[in-house]
Amino acid sequence: MSVVDRLVDPLDREETDGRPVGLALLSAAIAAAVLSPLAWIVVRVLQVDTDYALSILARPATVEILLTSLGLVAAVTGFSILLGVPLAFLTVRTDLPFRRFWTVAVALPLVVPSYLGAFTFIMAFGPSGELADVLAPLGIASIPSIYGFPGTALVLTLYTYPYVFITTRASLLSFDQQLVEAARTLGISRWAAFKRVTLPQLLPGITSGALLVALYALSDFGTPALLRLDVFTRVIMVEFNTFGRETAALLSLQLLAITAVILAIESRVGDSTQGAYVGASPNQGSDTTVSLGAWKLPALLFCAVVVALCLVVPIGVLVLWLVRSPETAARIGTEFQWGFALNSTKVSLATALVCAVAAVPVAYFAARHRSRLAELFDRATYVGYAMPGIVLGLALVFFGVWYQSAAGGLSTDLFGADYSPQLYQALPLLIFAYVVRFLPQSVGATRSSVRRVDRSLTEAARTLGRTRSAAFRRITLPLIAPGVIGGAALVFLTTMKELPATLLLHPTGFETLVTYIWGLRESANYGAVAVPALALIVVSGLSMVVILSQED
């Protein structure tokens, strides 16, 4: 009996009513673990004076910020769908020239941290930015301001739509093309067939990507801060900067309430029982690619514009900095070392691994045993994703220190010395923070791939003498592996980019690419920023290739 067997067997043992108690308990434990930092928020909120709390929540500015935040979430999500779905369709189902190239290229913006994107956008398109410099001699005095709502929505969209792109792509790839064939032999045009057959099947994929986008837009701090839009995270940040930890906690709670609403909406739209179906024979050898015909050129142009905006702009600006920058190493604390990239990669890999392992039971339970409970656990994992990194970070600071002194004290009482393992400002806690934040990306990808495995396949395996766990290992696991790995790679990417929690929880002296970039932030030495930023993009880009190579 292998380790997996031993793990899975007792977990998936079904009671007669068909509900696997072990699996449910494990899912519950994982959900509880990722929700645990919420306790800190509650404790802090309880310290807030009630009148003051009410006055904060009710003040007109709060309402306005709420509306702005929701508007931003709606706009970014909507535009991401408008970008992501057609791009996914173009790269999967049509004869777009250089499809492989475009697939990678349009997914790559995900590797650019949105704050970096925003920053380079300001540099390029802001007043007196590079573009303005180019246009000024042409007599174009002003370009629309990059600041404010439109700019924020644009930048966030450009750097989050790949979530929708990737999840939609996965659904499209596993979608049984025979259904479209059936529709078309019934005289339904290609477009109508797309609307009536493909789209409903893709909906779960699209919404799971859209959910990630929505929650990202809600919880992102860097972009709205740089582009000067007052949203929740920015207000929370201000509270933190002014030592209003309790107020910040209160606002965070409000943010999480919005998250809950978004989650509820998503489960209504995206989780219909009929969705996420995949036929026995996805992509049966036949050639069902859509010929673009006269649309080939506009389609190419579309892809090119997106890629130009998302990739060429930031990379161009970074390279420009690199070549232009004077040698002013004196202002840099530490020289750039490739060890930083290695550190980033190590923690990100570890996080990806943990997420992949933790996501499987939650996703499997949610996909196979459709019940309120399963759905609750599944959704619970999303809460951490919308928790601002700084709130989460401080919560874990508190728990980490508290554990350290409690365990240390106990150990000293018992053994006369502190033998408790280092947790605070050690990698496990940092990785845990990442898992809390990014688990849903893994859960989502895994869940939809589990759903795509026809139940009768595991049944067949079992009638051939395989235990539940062996069937899981031999049939389910290989079939969901692309989803699991794809999800893990997403986690890897976002972990590479994560800043606030990293700053709070990294082991002292453990420098990563983002902490290093952050350290340079004020130096105005953009050339120095360019190296780690490009390193970040390259390393993450490689993992994007991993994600996409899972597809075939």
Partner: protein, 382 residues
């Protein structure tokens, strides 16, 4: 004791390497005195280079790193901000000076680290030995939350009282509020001496920029509130808004915008303009200072010893190093901040710190941010 008095020579061995085995104790720290530049410890290396560094003094009063006790042991420093690595760079240099000294900096924004230290203190104790941050507010709030220990008098003795208003912390470098202006738009005389003149002057309509989310700006408003009262501050803020003052994220952007003519003038810390000048030497950018009001506030970066440290002595000595002539020269010549050691002048054509006319204000009070923020929000600036 490091008595490597052969300073100035390029081959001067580091103080730690001439270890004579007699551990330095607080009692043996010599009094501050006046050093000739070449008595100091490799001053040319500490000093920056370039045209701005031409007229450095020949002698300094204070205490040289050579006369400070050797540092031995390990120190964790929470570094808030850090001027793009400059503070960190200084710590590396100090570490490299001694054989058995390791400093481990932990960098984040100053408020974030202040929050962290407070949380850590609440939950048990902090791993930090020293907190060094770029704004007095964050330093002050940690002290107020009873998370620091008193600094020895010998360490802080050369720093003017303004920059160590309590025993709990000491300032390291000064940063003056200023008005960067575009010389194509304004001449030096055009810029008022009085901060309260800006809202009433039509010339500043649609021409000014500020960065209200930036800590230094908020400190400036806090100062105004403390000096002029809440109502006057509110009026001033509202007046500036009526002037259609542009909002930016940080003051480097403001300075850049001024330099490129996007803005006529702005509010910002003085060194941002210097940084812009460094990048764009020909930019039509100059600095003006108001007199005796909040607009002329000199805030400071500061440092303190975190309560619960096992290395209190070492921490104090380390802080003492930050206040040495060499360190002050290092930070001053490379980051354009104001050295707080009065004998170390600021770089280039900046007015000396005692030529500025800052308001009379206890900097520790700058941590009273709450009412400022309320005000900023109520007026819609934030």
């Amino acid at each position: 004791g490091s008595d490597g008095s052969g300073g100035g020579g390029t081959a001067t061995p580091a103080p730690g390497s001439t270890d004579d085995g007699t551990a330095t104790s607080a009692g043996t720290v010599p009094e501050p005195r006046t050093y000739a530049a070449d008595e100091l410890y490799n001053i040319e290396e500490w000093r920056g280079s370039g045209p701005l560094i031409e007229n450095r003094p020949d002698e300094y009063t204070g205490i040289s790193m050579l006369d400070l006790p050797d540092l031995r042991g390990e120190l964790t420093v929470y570094l808030g901000g850090g001027e793009g690595g400059l503070y960190e760079n200084l710590m590396w240099r100090i570490q490299n000076t001694y054989r058995d000294f390791t400093v481990t900096p932990r960098k984040a924004s100053s408020s974030q680290l202040a929050n962290t230290i407070i949380e850590e203190a609440t939950a048990g104790s902090s791993p930090a030995d020293v907190f060094w941050a770029i704004d007095a507010g964050s330093i002050g709030i940690v002290a107020e939350n009873d998370a620091t220990v008193e600094l020895p008098e010998r360490v802080v003795r050369s720093i003017p009282d303004t920059f160590h208003p309590t025993d709990q912390w000491v300032g390291t470098m000064g940063r003056a509020r200023s008005v960067p202006y575009n010389t194509d738009e304004f001449s030096a005389e055009d810029i008022p001496n009085d901060i309260s003149a800006f809202p009433d002057d039509d010339r500043f309509g649609d021409a000014m920029g500020w960065a209200p989310t930036y800590g230094a700006f908020q400190s400036f408003v806090t100062a105004m509130r403390l000096l002029e009262g809440e109502d006057a501050t509110r009026q001033w803020l509202e007046g500036m808004q009526e002037q259609n003052t542009g909002t930016y994220d940080n003051e480097l952007v403001v300075a850049n915008q001024v330099a490129s003519g996007e803005l006529g003038a702005g509010f910002g810390n003085h060194y941002y303009s210097r940084l812009v000048r460094e990048e764009r030497p020909d930019a039509p950018l100059e600095l003006a200072f108001t007199q005796g009001d909040a607009g002329a506030l000199i805030n400071c970066s500061g440092t303190e010893i975190v309560k619960g440290t096992d290395n209190e002595e070492l921490a104090a000595d380390f802080i003492h190093h930050l206040l040495s002539i060499e360190a002050q020269e290092f930070l001053g010549t490379r980051g354009y901040e104001y050295p707080l050691l009065p004998s170390v002048p600021p770089v280039g054509d900046l007015p000396r710190i005692d030529e500025l006319n800052p308001p009379d204000l206890n900097l520790a009070k700058l941590s009273d941010l709450e009412p400022t923020l309320r005000l900023l929000r109520e007026t819609g600036v934030l």
